[in-house]
């Protein structure tokens, strides 16, 4: 986990990140919490897909395997009262923002125990009490909305920051560009977090753009464009902390490209057999979780046995949360017609 410049290895081009060599580093307890969150995300992700493959429950799902550091590193650098907007591939963001495993599983399964009581589902996990304000299933559409959250904070004069994550493929969507221009113009406290996993569904990045480094897209708008290794949680944390500091101080938005190559298919059931095997193997070998775990051990922050114990605990938590969701009640049918409008306003029949 050095913090010098390095080749992030994406797309075989030499893309060097722009992070300075003086990162913020959180206290040890926070580091351990970050590790624990990454582990929780990983185990929840794996367990949910295992349930799907075994037929424990029906459903669909967008894996976050491999992007644990990318998601957790950013959100760990934010405050609990900061706002966040994410996508269908949002489990890591949602858990990092503090949502409970049970509420997340509940929503994935469409149960009353879900954070949206099962009405939103896989692509719409939101937990406004924890600042997880909105999850969109439409590629790129969260970015203009993040600006509005940033604007609300700016007008109120509080120093809340808004983060919004989106995939690399979302950089081809017009709404993002409108959002970047507006965020720059109004110096909004927004961090545009591009989770670059080098794929948009079945299409590799080189097949959909000639842009070398996606963060370059931000520059002409007057927004700093930073690219970091998304498998290195400390590097991600450091760059997000700088972006947040800048935003809080009124310095405006940052575009943070977090490169973490995709390891699995686009969604559960997609084997990813069209992906280059060697590249996938390289990404797998560069797993952010053991990398961070080894570092914690090497630094003497935790012992190997402590991490093993933590793993056992998290497995247990995941298991119990999933069980609560599987056994959770379904919404009564008359709720079909509620929540279209405010209570008391009739839904047209």
């Amino acid at each position: 986990m050095s913090t010098e410049d390095r080749d992030v290895g994406a797309r075989g081009r030499s893309e060097r990140h722009l992070v300075s060599s003086t990162p913020a580093q959180p206290p040890v307890s926070d580091l351990v919490n970050m590790y624990r969150t990454m582990l929780t995300v990983r185990l929840a992700d794996e367990r949910f897909m295992r349930g799907l493959s075994r037929g424990e429950f029906p459903g669909f799902y967008f894996p976050v395997h491999g992007m644990e550091a990318a998601a957790v590193g950013v959100i760990a650098a934010l405050r609990p009262d900061d706002y966040y907007v994410t996508t269908y591939r949002g489990l890591a963001d949602v858990l990092a923002k503090g949502a409970s495993l049970a509420a997340a599983f509940g929503e994935l399964l469409g149960r009353v125990t879900g954070m949206a009581r099962g009405k939103g589902g896989v692509m719409h996990m939101a937990d406004p009490e924890r600042g997880m304000m909105l999850t969109t299933g439409i590629v790129g559409s969260g970015t203009p909305i993040a600006n509005g959250l940033g604007l609300a904070a700016q007008l109120r004069g509080d120093d809340r920051v808004t983060g919004v994550s989106f995939g690399d493929g979302a950089t081809s969507i017009g709404a993002l560009h409108e959002a970047l221009n507006l965020a720059a113009l109004w110096s909004l406290p927004v961090i545009f977090v591009c989770h670059n996993n080098l794929w948009g569904e079945h299409t590799p990045i080189d097949a959909y753009t000639r842009t070398g480094r996606l963060a370059e897209r931000a520059t002409p708008y007057g927004i700093p464009g930073v690219t970091v290794d998304g498998t290195d949680v400390l590097e991600v944390y450091a760059s997000a902390a700088r972006a947040a500091e800048r935003a809080r101080a009124g310095g405006g938005p940052t575009f943070l490209e977090v490169v973490a190559p995709r390891i699995l298919g686009h969604s559960f059931g997609d084997t990813g057999d069209y992906m280059d095997k060697a590249a996938v193997e390289r990404a797998r070998a560069n797993d952010p979780i053991p990398k961070f775990g080894d570092w914690l051990v090497a630094q003497g922050h935790r012992g190997r046995d402590e991490l093993d114990a933590m793993r056992a605990q998290v497995i247990d938590e995941v298991e119990r949360a999933l069980a609560s969701a599987v056994n959770g009640a379904s919404l009564p049918v008359d709720e079909l017609y509620t929540d279209v409008f405010a209570p008391g306003v009739d839904t047209p029949r």
């Binding site: 706002y83 907007v85 879900g114 954070m115 949206a116 009581r117 099962g118 009405k119 939103g120 589902g121 719409h124 939101a126 937990d127 406004p128 304000m133 909105l134 969109t136 439409i138 559409s141 970015t143 203009p144 909305i145 993040a146 600006n147 509005g148 959250l149 940033g150 604007l151 609300a152 904070a153 007008l155 109120r156 808004t162 017009g174 709404a175 409108e178 959002a179 221009n181 507006l182 113009l185 109004w186 509620t338 929540d339 279209v340 409008f341 405010a342 209570p343 306003v345 009739d346 839904t347 047209p348």
Partner: protein, 336 residues
């Protein structure tokens, strides 16, 4: 069923339709610090391309009355986010044709958010735009029917200065996304009528009956309301008593007022400036037929704009939208 409904005051002053809208914005901005206006060219000068927000950025500052880049998606997205962040934003989109650019933000995001969040969050935002301009195919359209078929969005279309103010204030202070549509002929009109002062609200979802009658119900809204009233006046001279129902809101739709009127007159003509095929009149006609089957003397007629793009040539533009005499002619056929 009410013609007007006042929440706090009965004092009035004479305002044009546009001034009444400006007054509503002024009152909203003045009374609630969370109200925020954003849109292209809405700050002074010019205070909106048709000056609906004239003077407001000067009075309340360009932080709260914000001119934006030409970025419709970013505008509506910012309104959604601001609503989520606790404000009551009002976004101006210059013309309803440009609403085509924000269907994703409006329909997929604003309209569905309360539902998708299981009621844990909601979006008190207003988008206002203009319909019925006469500037050819891409600047004149009326697509309110799309939003009747896009769950989660309320739709209001005022026809008088008082309703313009009262509905707009209701939209701004409503806890759901509201689409507020200004008919261009009214926005451009120089005539002044009585408008209650202060924080006057017209409840969303309540039709008005600006003219009572017994032989036939003319159901309408927006720019066709004065046309319907003119038609009713013409018909009165012929001994036909037409009741005019001004819907004012399309979502929620005031079924009760419509059905009460038609149950009485047993004849209905629905008229609007939106195109006919699959327009708002289709829902209203279908609903009347469902609810009053067997009680009608004649089939419900729809009198609406041609199901074509809006033509530019004035010869065609004249023929495109029904006027008072077209409405009257349809009424005669129904009453005869």
């Amino acid at each position: 069923m009410t013609t007007t409904q006042t929440t706090q005051t009965t004092q009035t002053r004479e305002l044009t339709f546009a001034e009444a809208i400006n007054d509503a914005f002024d009152i909203a901005l003045g009374s609630d610090p969370t109200v925020l206006l954003l849109g292209e060219d809405i700050a002074d000068p010019p205070g909106g391309v048709v000056r609906l927000t004239h003077g407001l950025s000067t009075k309340y500052g360009t932080q709260r009355v914000r001119a934006t880049p030409i970025s419709e998606q970013a505008i509506v997205g910012a309104a959604i986010g601001a609503a989520l962040g606790g404000l009551r934003p009002v976004a101006e989109i210059m013309l309803m044709d440009f609403i085509a650019l924000v269907m994703d933000q409006l329909v997929n995001h604003a309209g569905k958010h309360r539902y998708m969040s299981g009621g844990t969050s909601h979006l008190p935002l207003t988008v206002h735009t203009r319909i019925g301009h006469r500037r050819g195919a891409q600047h004149s359209s009326s697509y309110e029917a799309w939003f009747m078929h896009a769950p989660g969005i309320k739709v209001c279309v005022p026809a008088t200065a008082a309703d313009a103010k009262g509905l707009l204030l209701s939209c701004i202070f409503d806890d759901d996304p509201c689409l507020y549509l200004e008919p261009t002929p009214m926005v451009r009109s120089r005539g002044r009528t009585e408008v209650p002062t202060g924080d006057y609200r017209v409840p969303i979802g309540q039709a008005a009956v600006p003219r009572a009658g017994s032989d036939v119900s003319i159901i309408t809204y927006g720019q066709q309301t004065p046309a319907a009233l003119d038609a009713a006046a013409m018909l009165a001279d012929e001994g036909i008593s037409a009741e005019v129902v001004d819907l004012r809101s399309l979502v929620p739709l005031d079924h009760q007022t419509v059905l009460t009127s038609v149950a009485k007159t047993r004849r209905a003509v629905v008229t609007h400036a939106a195109t006919r095929f699959a327009g708002p009149g289709a829902e209203i006609s279908a609903m009347i037929n469902e609810e009053l089957f067997g009680q009608l003397e004649r089939p419900v007629r729809r009198v609406a704009s041609a199901s074509t793009p809006v033509p530019f040539a004035s010869s065609l533009a004249q023929a495109y939208s029904p006027d008072a005499s077209t409405i009257a002619e349809s009424v005669r056929e129904v009453v005869r």
